[in-house]
Subunit: 136 residues, 2 copies
C-alpha cells in the first residue's frame, strides 16, 4: 500500500457545543441534541462553498472519548438489554469510534456552520461532511 | 489530547469484491453494486456475534483510491453539473475519504460476511460496521 493511501485521518475542524459531559449527552441528536457550531479549517473553504442554510448534511466525527477496546455492549446502556456485538449497534464504544450525525444547517459564517440537533461533545474532532442524500 | 484519543484508524478487515476498476464501479451500491465478502479480523468475532442473515448494516470504509486534495467536483463526474464543494456531495475524492455503504447481510461465515449491493473496490479497508437503524 502506498504511503499516501494509508488510512490516516486528518481532522478538518472541531465541534463547539454546550455539551461537555458524555453522561449527560443524548444518545442520538434528534433525542434532544442542542445547536452547535462546526468550526472548520479556513483552507477548506472551497469544499464548503456550496453549503447553504437549510441543507441537510451527514456530519462525520471521531468520538474521541470512546473506549476502543469494547466489542460487546448492552444497547443504550440499559442493563435489561442483552449483550450485543458492537457492530450490530450504534454504541460510540467500538474499535474505530466514527460518529455519524444527520444535521441541518442553520447558519453559515465563513468556515463556521451552525447546525441543529447535535449530540457530539464540545471538542469532538470533525473528519467529514457529506450530502445527506446519496444521489449526489 | 491523550495519545490514545488520537484519530488513528485501525482497519478491521478488507472488502473482497469482483470490482477492481474504479472507472467501472457504480457510483452508489444500489446502482448495480455486486455481492461482496467482508473479511474481518478473527479477534473481532465478539463484535460480530449478533449479526444475522438479513440484517441491514452501514458499512464504513476507507476509500484508499481517493484523491484527498480535491475540494470541488462536478457531481457524479458529469461535466454539465456545476462545480460544487465536496462537502455538499458524495464524491469519494475529499480530505478524509470515508465511504458509507448501506448493505444487507446475505450470509455469515465466522468472521466473513457476504453482503449485497456494494460499490467498494476489492481491497478497500473496512473501518466500521453499524446498525443501519440509529435507534440502537
Amino acid at each position: 500500500m502506498a504511503p499516501d493511501r494509508s488510512p490516516a485521518l486528518r481532522p478538518i475542524g472541531v465541534v463547539r457545543s454546550p455539551l461537555t459531559d458524555r453522561a449527560a449527552a443524548p444518545k442520538q441528536g434528534p433525542e434532544g441534541g442542542p445547536d452547535a457550531w462546526l468550526e472548520l479549517d479556513d483552507n477548506l473553504l472551497p469544499a464548503l462553498r456550496s453549503i447553504q442554510t437549510g441543507d441537510r448534511l451527514l456530519l462525520i466525527t471521531w468520538l474521541h472519548h470512546a473506549d476502543r477496546d469494547v466489542l460487546e455492549v448492552r444497547p443504550r446502556g440499559n442493563p435489561d438489554n442483552p449483550l450485543t456485538g458492537v457492530f450490530s449497534t450504534r454504541s460510540p464504544d467500538r474499535p474505530n469510534p466514527i460518529g455519524l450525525h444527520p444535521v441541518t444547517v442553520l447558519a453559515v459564517d465563513g468556515a463556521r456552520l451552525l447546525v441543529s440537533d447535535l449530540e457530539a461533545l464540545d471538542g469532538t474532532p470533525i473528519v467529514d461532511l457529506k450530502a445527506a442524500d446519496a444521489s449526489g
